[in-house]
């Protein structure tokens, strides 16, 4: 039987939304307060959904210890309490939450071996969230 398991994690990071291909004025118009040169921060809540057959021996889609370990090692240590603009991932990419969700999805796709990565859902604040399933439609 196929089931979907979702685990929620929290990390905090700062960023500034600024595109090098836009003028200062255009950046201001596009990103508003998010273009503040000194940046600002968020507590991001990240949901990682994996799917697969429930293993009859363990009753699990994926051992949580393995999932937590992979997420801690590849995502939380990389982004928690960091300035996203200073990271190589965002050298040429504006660190919007859309782009951050895509970056996280791609990292996890490479590093998760114990289950199939279904989607990454990222809440930037309690008011907005973004979901990415590698370009596929979401399972509802």
């Amino acid at each position: 039987m196929k089931a979907y398991l979702t685990r929620r994690y929290i990390f905090s990071a700062s960023h500034r939304l600024h595109s090098d291909v836009l003028s200062d004025e255009q950046n201001g118009l596009t990103y508003g307060k998010c273009n503040n040169p000194h940046g600002h921060g968020h507590n991001y809540a990240m949901e990682v959904t994996v799917s697969g057959q429930v293993n009859p021996e363990t009753g699990m889609v994926c051992n949580l210890v393995d999932l937590d370990g992979a997420v801690e090692h590849t995502i939380l240590t990389r982004f928690d309490h960091q300035n996203l603009n200073t990271l190589a991932d965002f050298a040429t990419l504006v660190p919007t939450t859309e782009n951050l969700a895509g970056v996280i999805y791609n990292i996890l796709k490479q590093s998760l071996h114990s289950a199939h990565l279904e989607r990454v859902r990222l809440e930037e604040t309690m008011m907005n969230s973004f979901e990415f399933a590698g370009g596929a439609e979401l399972r509802r």
Partner: protein, 136 residues
């Protein structure tokens, strides 16, 4: 087609143990969850049904009936119970969140007449939940 979700809560205890394994293997795979004295959770269950709106009642499903089925099949059977010892499905299956979600689906599916079961979402904790859509 419209989707309706009903939420309910139950609290239960359980432990994870595979009788085909040694104690050491059980501890290695299941960690703290393998403590045979058990531990408990406050589970939150969200059941989503789908169907067409009845033109007379304006309902996709009669919520009274859905609530009654949920209470009888799930809450009465699992709330304040030890899942391993008191819920028949878990005499042979480990009561992981995955297996509880599947058991809830199987208990509800046959009982729903008008609306069709779409999804069972079971939270073990606010940061951990399982979705089951009845897929093989």
């Amino acid at each position: 087609m419209i989707y309706l979700t009903r939420k309910c809560e139950f609290s239960a205890s359980h432990y994870y143990h595979n009788p085909n394994w040694t104690d050491e293997e059980n501890r290695r795979v299941f960690g703290k969850c393998s403590n045979l004295n058990g531990h408990g959770h406050n589970y939150t269950l969200e059941v989503t049904v789908k169907g067409d709106i009845d033109p007379t009642t304006g309902f996709v499903v009669d919520l009274k009936q859905l609530k009654e089925i949920l209470n009888r099949e799930v809450v009465d059977a699992m709330d304040h119970r030890h899942l391993n010892k008191e819920v028949p499905e878990f005499a042979t299956k480990i009561p992981t969140t995955e297996n509880i979600a599947i058991a809830v689906w199987q208990r509800l599916e046959a009982k729903l007449q008008v609306a069709k079961l779409h999804r069972v979402r079971l939270y073990e904790m606010p940061d951990l939940f399982v979705d089951f859509y009845g897929e093989a």
